[in-house]
């Protein structure tokens, strides 16, 4: 290609590609934008979204499987066992460390920890990020009822056992040779 033809080609190429580009941007200039006006409008969040956790406290058995599965050890829980029932003291998740990997959800044997669709977590104080997932402290009413029932049952059982042992001892006393009515 000679210099002159290259020169002319340069000029025409510049103009042509500029016009092609302008047509594309012009097309989008006239279209409705695709963004939404957050926070007035929000995009729908799918229900598998990995957001802030929530705990179904009733089902949890304090087995620490989720705490062990966490790569960063952000879950800490504390409960006192009364037989089969738990008196909850705390169940905290430190969101300063959590990387929302969902490794804690899978190993739970009772399927009680989940990740929700909340993602906005703003605070002026660092301590608020150590989030307590409990919905009630101590024992729930049902758990208390069950514990009292279990204690009653246990007491009744022990009494029955004691009564049976006493009856058996009395029988044995009767069954001794000296006591038999001959």
């Amino acid at each position: 290609m000679t210099t002159v033809s290259k020169y002319v080609k340069n000029v025409f190429d510049s103009v042509r590609t500029t016009l092609v580009g302008m047509r594309i941007t012009g097309k989008y200039l006239l279209q409705k934008p695709i963004t939404v006006q957050y926070p007035d409008e929000r995009l729908p969040i799918p229900n598998r979204y990995r957001g802030i956790h929530y705990l179904e406290q009733e089902k949890c058995i304090d087995c620490l499987a989720c705490a062990r599965a966490c790569p960063i050890d952000c879950i800490e829980m504390d409960a006192v066992r009364h037989g089969k029932e738990l008196e909850w003291i705390s169940f905290t998740l430190d969101y300063q460390k959590c990387m929302f990997c969902e490794l804690c959800v899978y190993p739970c044997p009772k399927d009680c920890i989940h990740m929700g669709t909340e993602f906005a977590f703003v605070s002026f104080d660092r301590s608020e990020f150590v989030h307590d997932l409990l919905s009630y402290r101590g024992m729930s009413r049902d758990a208390k009822t069950r514990m009292i029932e279990a204690a009653k049952k246990k007491k009744a059982k022990e009494e029955a056992k004691a009564a049976k042992a006493a009856a058996k001892a009395a029988e044995e006393v009767v069954a001794e040779p000296g006591n038999e009515e001959g």
Partner: protein, 383 residues
């Protein structure tokens, strides 16, 4: 209202068009004020009006830029401050005023502070020669276009001062590139303007505009091929040259965002930065308006001929129509510049210089030659 000044034998029109303001001030002047204070006050008032016009133009241009860029990029742009964000520039201005006044360590303090002021002052000097309507202007220079080109050239000094005094290597890059680029593109800018000047026969902006009158306000514009077929290429060259002069994409290397953060403006914040910003948008408007004076009829449009027909030449309605016309044309040019900015990538500095010296200048000279031949030989046949 300011009145039309009388022409004299000398090249420059006298009394700066501020006769009405001066008469008013003479009327209310107390005894102890000396006589020479009157013209000075009149000039002060005039420049105040020019500054207000520049500020309003900048405000609207920044809003337009953000909305245009937003919609090109499939998003909205500012939406919260007023209806569709039209008060956003005001909010930005307030924020910039409240910012901390930083001068970098090791920077040349005098030059650092002077640079944005110099840049804005050059622009205001150029705006002084710009008539808003046929009778509302600060000064009606006989060599109007020369004054504008000369004053806008002096902004380069301010930019180089800003880049050098920032004591930052990246700012220095921006300043050096800017100096090379602006000086290079002055040449095709001036030469391409010679084509309409030849046809009009005058450097005075208002006379050039009046020369395009008649024909329902649209058919006598200089851009049309029946006036001179070399006008359209001249306008294209002029447009590319003003893109480079105002450092807009694709020639925005001096303030290349992704390379130099903000080029020569990097170390500036707050109100100092907003001076540069104002200068950029007001210069865009000024150049586009100058282009519309010389190529697209200036004050002449169907709207203004209608107003002239209805209310007579020089009437208030006619003046308002003229003002609206030139502002609309200026903003149409600005819109085109913005559209190009968001479409094209940046040209490298050596390619910028190649384009300026090897492509634009020879083509501009060819246009001038051709237009001159046309005007001298072919146009008199039917004019």
């Amino acid at each position: 209202m300011l009145s039309v000044a009388q022409s004299t034998e000398s090249g420059l029109k006298e009394s700066f068009g501020t006769n009405a303001v001066q008469d008013f001030l003479i009327g209310i002047k107390p005894e102890f004020v000396p006589a020479w204070a009157i013209p000075l006050t009149a000039i002060g008032v005039g420049m105040g009006i020019v500054l207000a016009i520049v500020a309003l133009l900048t405000m609207f241009s920044t809003w337009l830029e953000r909305k245009v860029s937003g919609h090109i990029q499939c998003r909205y742009g500012p939406m919260r401050v007023g209806w569709h964000g039209w008060l956003q520039p005001l909010a930005d201005g307030v924020k910039l005023l409240l910012k901390e006044d930083l001068v970098p360590l090791g920077a040349d303090r005098v030059l650092f502070v002077m640079a944005p002021a110099l840049v804005l002052a050059s622009l205001l000097g150029a705006m002084a020669a710009f008539p808003l309507t046929g009778a509302f202007y600060f000064a009606n220079f006989e060599l109007g276009i020369f004054m504008i080109l000369a004053m806008t050239s002096t902004t380069t000094i301010g930019v180089v001062m800003a880049g050098w005094s920032s004591n930052s290597k990246w700012s220095l890059y921006g300043a050096m590139r800017e100096a090379a680029q602006v000086v290079a593109y002055e040449i095709p800018l001036g030469i391409s303007l010679l084509v309409p000047i030849m046809v009009a026969g005058s450097f005075n902006l208002i006379e050039v505009s009046n020369g395009q009158g008649g024909g329902f306000g649209i058919f006598n514009w200089y851009i049309w091929p029946w006036v001179n077929p070399f006008m359209l290429p001249a306008f294209l060259l002029f447009f590319v040259a003003i893109l480079a002069e105002t450092k807009r994409a694709p020639f925005d290397l001096p303030e290349a965002e992704s390379e130099l953060v903000a080029g020569f403006m990097t170390e500036y914040s707050g109100i100092r930065w907003s001076f540069f910003f104002m200068e950029e948008y007001a210069a865009m408007f000024l150049y586009c308006a100058v282009g519309s004076f010389f190529f697209f009829g200036g004050f002449e449009s169907p709207l203004s001929s209608l107003a002239e027909g209805m209310a007579g030449t020089g009437s208030v309605l006619h003046q308002l129509a003229q003002g609206a016309t030139i502002i609309l044309k200026g903003f149409a040019g600005i819109f085109l510049m913005m559209w190009l900015r968001w479409t094209l990538p940046r040209v490298r500095i050596d390619q910028v210089m190649t384009m300026g010296y090897k492509y634009l200048t020879p083509l501009a000279l060819v246009c001038v030659l051709g237009a001159g031949v046309w005007e001298a030989l072919i146009a008199p046949l039917w004019r």
